[in-house]
Amino acid sequence: MDNLRRYWLGVLLAAASGVAVIVALGMVFFYAPREVTMGEVQRIFYFHVASAWIGFFAFFVTFLSGIGYLATDKRRWDIVGLSSVEVGLTFITMTVVTGALWAKPVWGTYWTWEPRLTISAVQLLIYVAYGMLRASLDSSEQKARFGAVYGIVAFVTVPLSWVAIRWWRTIHPDILTGGEGMAVTARMTQTLLVTISAFTLLYATLLRLRVSLEQATDELARLRLRLERRSSS
């Protein structure tokens, strides 16, 4: 009964994020106005900002599950941390790619060492390092323990990197505060908020699926072991 309820909850979550993404797409292309100076290309901004938010948020989840794992030694925490890194990696890659695509028509070059873009690139490298670390370890207990520690240490350096890079240079359009570079209307803000919510739902769905995949892998390993024991005795 419990399993069945969880199954339907998952279906509901997936459906909700599907609907939310479609609504967000509709708003990005038909509801949000055309930006004055940048034109149509500015619409990539909604995906860019939303995926950057998820990239950071996913890392925060890994940080929390790292603490959870070290405190309790429960495999469940490690699974959440690992899954969040993998899902977050997808989104942060999207941030960097959309950032580059946006930069080309607006600034005339694919890559500017702009703070927000740079910190996303640093985060991307941290995510990759986390993956490489786990891949280079043999025992699953070590993977979990070192992954947790690395997730914690890496996360606390991100705000400092952010401050350092921001002081280093800044030419990013100051969004939401109105500032230079971009004319923001109420419709744009609404579209952005809907896109961020849709991406957050999508993140939750993907995280849930990745977690259950890892649990299934564990279950399979357990069953295999039992089968081997039975056939050998």
Partner: protein, 223 residues
């Protein structure tokens, strides 16, 4: 006091081992000089160019040479099961961390003390200033602390030496930016107060990293 004595005992052990083999300092030093040579070819470091590029070249050299020393220092503990002996000793995990980090800081500092006048003479850059020394200490402290923690992780991986830079460098971004900017300002003749923002980043980074490393080091070396 008791705690400090234990930390110093571990540092002494590392110094004795280093005096015996001399492999860490000599490797870092030779590598640093080679790096200077390569940077000099790559960037044509003369006159104004040297002054502009000097802080970056200096810290890139320190960062890369540091990874060599840090991974060697931990590999030495792993070989022959020295780390198990350390863990069996009646000392706190935090004393082990402080001891290893202080040893790494010391060895990196020795290399820097030799490198700095050499660098200043070779490229005619005014690096020998008290402010630069303070920045060097603050930058190296944070780098050695986070490097010690990550080296203790990396030494367990299959890739080992290859793994440490991949783990360490993205986390050392604040140190590198802060130290390069502060050093750059000082080379241009500004005072330590005028580059205070960068120095503060280094101090905050050092404190945060020391705190987090102390809390997590025990989990890294157990089991």
């Amino acid at each position: 006091m008791e705690f400090l004595r234990k930390v110093l005992t571990i540092v002494n052990k590392d110094i004795a081992a280093e005096l015996h083999t001399k492999e860490m300092i000599s490797a870092m030093l030779v590598f640093s000089v080679l790096a200077l040579l390569i940077f000099s070819f790559a960037l044509d470091l003369r006159g104004e160019m040297a002054e502009v590029a000097a802080p970056g070249v200096l810290w890139a050299t320190i960062a890369f040479a540091g990874t060599l020393g840090l991974s060697r220092s931990m590999a030495r503990e792993q070989q022959g099961g020295c780390i198990d002996g350390l863990l069996l000793a009646p000392v706190d995990r935090s004393a082990i961390f402080f001891g290893k980090a202080a040893g790494n800081l010391l060895f990196m500092a020795i290399v820097e003390v030799i490198l700095l006048p050499f660098f200043a003479a070779l490229f005619d850059v005014p690096l020998l200033r008290p402010g630069v020394l303070i920045v060097l200490v603050l930058g190296t402290l944070g780098y050695a602390a986070v490097g010690t923690l990550l080296a203790a992780i990396a030494v367990n991986t299959r890739a080992r030496e290859v793994m440490l830079p991949v783990l360490l460098l993205p986390l050392a971004v604040p140190v590198l930016i802060g130290a390069v900017r502060a050093t750059g300002g000082l080379v241009e003749g500004r005072t330590l107060g005028q580059v205070g923002g960068w120095v503060r980043i280094l101090v905050v980074y050092d404190l945060v990293i020391l705190a987090v490393s102390l809390l997590t080091f025990g989990y890294v070396v157990e089991g």
